[in-house]
């Protein structure tokens, strides 16, 4: 079945350093979403990428979708303590009719040392 691999599993950085998490799918995706889960919280939607090669920015966060629509990345510039949390990618594959399947990566836990 469809798999979405996400690396790294953990990342610890000093405040001000950059951070990147990567997702790779075994199959071509219709779109990919990114979610953030703060410690003790629930996943919250960040962004969705749909087009091949798409790049979107949200302040210090840059999201990319690969040309083949099989991989994606989230890059945070100059991390802050408020960036702490687990970042999940979720790849959606269209399976025909009204069926689609959203598969989550296992997430990357980011900790930031102030």
């Amino acid at each position: 079945g469809q798999q979405v691999m996400q690396i790294p599993q953990y990342q610890h950085v000093q405040e001000g350093e950059d951070f990147t998490t990567y997702c790779n799918s075994s199959t071509t995706l219709s779109n990919i979403q990114w979610y953030k889960q703060r410690p003790g919280g629930h996943p919250v939607f960040l962004i969705q990428l749909v087009k091949s090669g798409e790049v979107k920015k949200q302040k210090r966060l840059t999201f990319q979708f690969g040309e083949a629509k099989k991989n994606s990345s989230l890059h945070i510039t100059a991390t802050q303590t408020t960036d702490v949390g687990t970042y999940f990618c979720a790849g959606r594959r269209f399976e025909g009719g009204s069926n689609y399947k959203l598969t989550f990566g296992k997430g990357t836990l980011l900790t930031v040392n102030p």
Partner: protein, 116 residues
Amino acid sequence: DVKVTQSSRYLVKRTGEKVFLECVQDMDHENMFWYRQDPGLGLRLIYFSYDVKMKEKGDIPEGYSVSREKKERFSLILESASTNQTSMYLCASIRGGGPPNTGELFFGEGSRLTVL
């Protein structure tokens, strides 16, 4: 504000008990989901429903059942709880629509279940 509400944040149950986890959304969404979240395993889909009285198995349905009698409510049922079902359970909903669906998931705050 849109909202997905899970009835219990924390539950402690004994092995063999029947457990109901309730989820209600106020967004008139067609699709609802139950995930469990475990350290190192991420979010795994248990069941989902794309309409009232409809249900589909996710990736790990064994030991669970669901009920969707009303559009806004999606219940997860553990017929006979076991210790390996100790986990965080997350309900989510998403607007339905023509393929390919591109909506975002709205999650509830989660129900942490401990089975002793």
